[in-house]
């Protein structure tokens, strides 16, 4: 690995590492709140890859895509947290393994 020259590959590797940490958070944690924060981390890792590719290829379009991703993520967080609050009202918990009422 070359430390003095930053290439597109470096940005992509960093983005994949961030994505994996976020994925680990979604899989390993039980709190729905932390799972949603990890989801934000996933979206941000994808954003980083998009911006890096756009810059190194000289395209402005990926930045527009990132703009839309940020907008949709904001809507997603608002809706997800609203659902979380509704679940908490009924179940009095935010632990994912307590929410098994749909299980056979």
């Amino acid at each position: 690995m070359n430390f003095a020259e930053i290439t597109l590959g470096h940005y992509l590797a960093l983005s994949s590492v961030l994505f994996l940490i976020g994925l680990a958070g979604v899989i390993l944690r039980r709190s729905l709140l932390i799972m949603m924060m990890s989801l934000e981390l996933l979206l941000n890792a994808a954003n980083l890859a998009l911006v890096a590719v756009g810059r190194f290829q000289g395209l402005p379009d990926p930045q527009v895509a990132v703009f839309f991703v940020i907008t949709v993520a904001a809507a997603e967080v608002a809706l997800g947290l609203a659902i979380l609050v509704a679940i908490f009202r009924i179940k009095k918990t935010t632990a994912a393994d307590q929410l098994a009422s749909l299980r056979f």
Binding site: S16, I21, R29, S31, L41, N44, D61, I70, A78
Partner: protein
């Protein structure tokens, strides 16, 4: 200059992301998320995406974080009880993560485009609000309108979901 910025931000990003996943107190996790988002905004600056860096700080580190902290406050979430870590899952995650850390640069090096280096000021630009706005309001204007509808629907949905049921 660029390598120093990149490595400092990369290490900070990974450390704060691990903190977000590992801390048991949700408020600490939220603070780690703020650090992660701000550092990513700094990375956007090094990638000459200035407008996106500003949007990232305003929307993510501002609005989304306030939402998270408000919900933590409303729900009065306690520290998660100490549990035995699910070692089998941890081993899987570490194995896949290690494979990615070593594998992705290898796979990327198969493509000549991934070895490209661009120094500051050599990019084609396109990161300013003016250029992004021109794209948004010309070729992407249908998507932009759809985003407006999406935000309206999300707002109405949140209000409906959070309303107390009048019958109960």
């Amino acid at each position: 200059m660029e390598p120093i910025f990149f490595w400092v931000l990369a290490v900070g990003l990974v450390v704060s992301a691990i903190g977000l996943v590992a801390f048991r107190n949700p408020v600490t996790s939220a603070v780690c998320l703020v650090v992660t988002l701000v550092m990513e905004a700094a990375l956007f600056v090094t990638l000459e995406a200035y407008f996106l860096a500003v949007v990232q700080v305003i929307v993510y580190a501002g609005a989304v974080m306030v939402l998270f902290l408000f919900v933590i406050m409303l729900l009065d979430v306690k520290e998660e009880a100490r549990q035995r870590p699910p070692w089998a899952k941890v081993v899987w995650v570490v194995a896949i993560g290690g494979g990615a850390v070593f594998g992705v640069p290898r796979i990327a090096s198969l493509f000549p485009a991934a070895a490209k280096t661009l120094h500051w000021g050599q990019g084609k630009g396109g990161g300013s609000a003016a250029e992004l706005g021109r794209l948004l309001f010309s070729s992407y204007s249908p998507l932009f309108l759809a985003t407006g509808v999406l935000l309206l629907v999300a707002t109405v949905g949140v209000v409906v979901l959070c309303r107390k049921d009048p019958e109960s």
